[in-house]
């Protein structure tokens, strides 16, 4: 019972993310909605599932939650940066934009120069 309630909460959060994605006016804003709400929504669903599933499978749920938590912010950052730099999109920035005109060069880190 408690598992289903948690899963319902998670599903509602994902629905919230979907409404945000439909209603917000700009790509960057929509990205906020997706990464924040749907990540936590999926976490709730995973926790809810842990109550209804045999104990051996909980490790898989833990793994799924960890991988989600780690990869979502990085994905958002990559898309956000690409969107900001791409030619076809004008991101709506209302108040202050301290990134306009700043050239951030890609660095050659030691990882890429090792053989």
């Amino acid at each position: 019972m408690i598992g289903e309630v948690l899963a319902l909460a998670g599903a509602l959060l994902t629905l919230l993310a979907a409404i945000g994605v439909v209603r917000f006016r700009d790509v960057l804003e929509r990205m906020h909605a997706v990464t924040k709400a749907s990540t936590v929504g999926l976490l709730f669903v995973l926790i809810g599932t842990a109550f209804a599933v045999p104990a051996g499978d909980i490790t898989t749920l833990v793994l799924a939650g960890l991988s989600q938590l780690v990869t979502m912010p990085v994905g958002a950052f990559l898309i956000g940066r690409a969107t900001y730099r791409a030619e076809g999109i004008e991101p709506r920035v209302d108040v202050v934009d301290e990134l306009a005109g700043v050239e951030v060069a890609a660095e050659e880190g030691p990882l890429t120069t090792e053989g």
């Binding site: 945000g20 990464t35 490790t59 950052f77 956000g80 108040v95 934009d97 990134l99």
Partner: protein
């Protein structure tokens, strides 16, 4: 197989034990744990095959010597950091609910440059990832030298507020996970910033 050394940390302020381990051993341990999680069962065969795979990976894709850091983990600051992040995650979803459902949109977006001095690149990455989970903010661009995070904010009321939030996050993260030098550096830089801002407020 692995020795874990516990010793009192210096300087004297930190009365908490910290766990210091060679980095590659930690990498092997993490990979073995992931392997076991994937296989769902903790048997000797799983453990041994996991260790073999982890060691092969760590040897085959080594992290260059100069980027290896000693990893530290302090229990109490870590709990404080995790509590702060959890609270922020809950806040962000509540805020998002209000924002999505309300008729009039109160969103005023902006991108703010927040300098994070005294931060290693690894810590910068970590703080940037946590910012993506906090209410209304997301990292859009980052530069390593000088260490600056460009944070895109949904509800921008004042630039200083955004910078303060990010700096508080950085301070909590460094106290929990940074080396002793990093803590000293961050404390010094942030005290300096506060002093400079007080001076600016005083001058007419």
């Amino acid at each position: 197989m692995s020795d874990v050394q516990r010793r009192r940390d210096t300087p004297r302020r930190w009365h908490l034990p910290s766990l210091l381990m060679p980095a590659s051993l930690v990498h092997v341990a993490v990979l073995v744990v992931l392997w076991l999680l994937l296989w769902d069962r903790f048997t000797i065969g799983n453990l041994l095959s996991g260790i073999v795979v982890a060691v092969v990976l760590v040897i085959g894709f080594p992290i260059p010597r100069q980027r290896q850091k000693r990893l530290t983990l302090r229990p109490v600051p870590t709990v404080r950091f995790v509590a702060h992040v959890v609270r922020k995650v809950v806040e962000s979803n509540v805020w998002l609910t209000r924002e999505v459902v309300s008729r009039r949109s109160r969103i005023r977006t902006g991108i703010v440059a927040t300098p994070l001095d005294g931060c290693s690149p690894e810590l910068l990455t970590f703080v940037a990832n946590v910012i993506a989970l906090t209410p209304g903010s997301m990292v859009v661009e980052a530069s390593a030298s000088p260490p600056v995070l460009y944070v895109h904010v949904l509800d921008l009321r004042s630039i200083e507020e955004v910078r303060d939030d990010v700096h508080r996050l950085e301070r909590l993260a460094v106290h929990a996970f940074g080396s002793v030098d990093a803590i000293a550096a961050v404390d010094r830089v942030q005290a300096e910033r506060r002093r400079r801002r007080i001076e600016e407020d005083d001058t007419p």
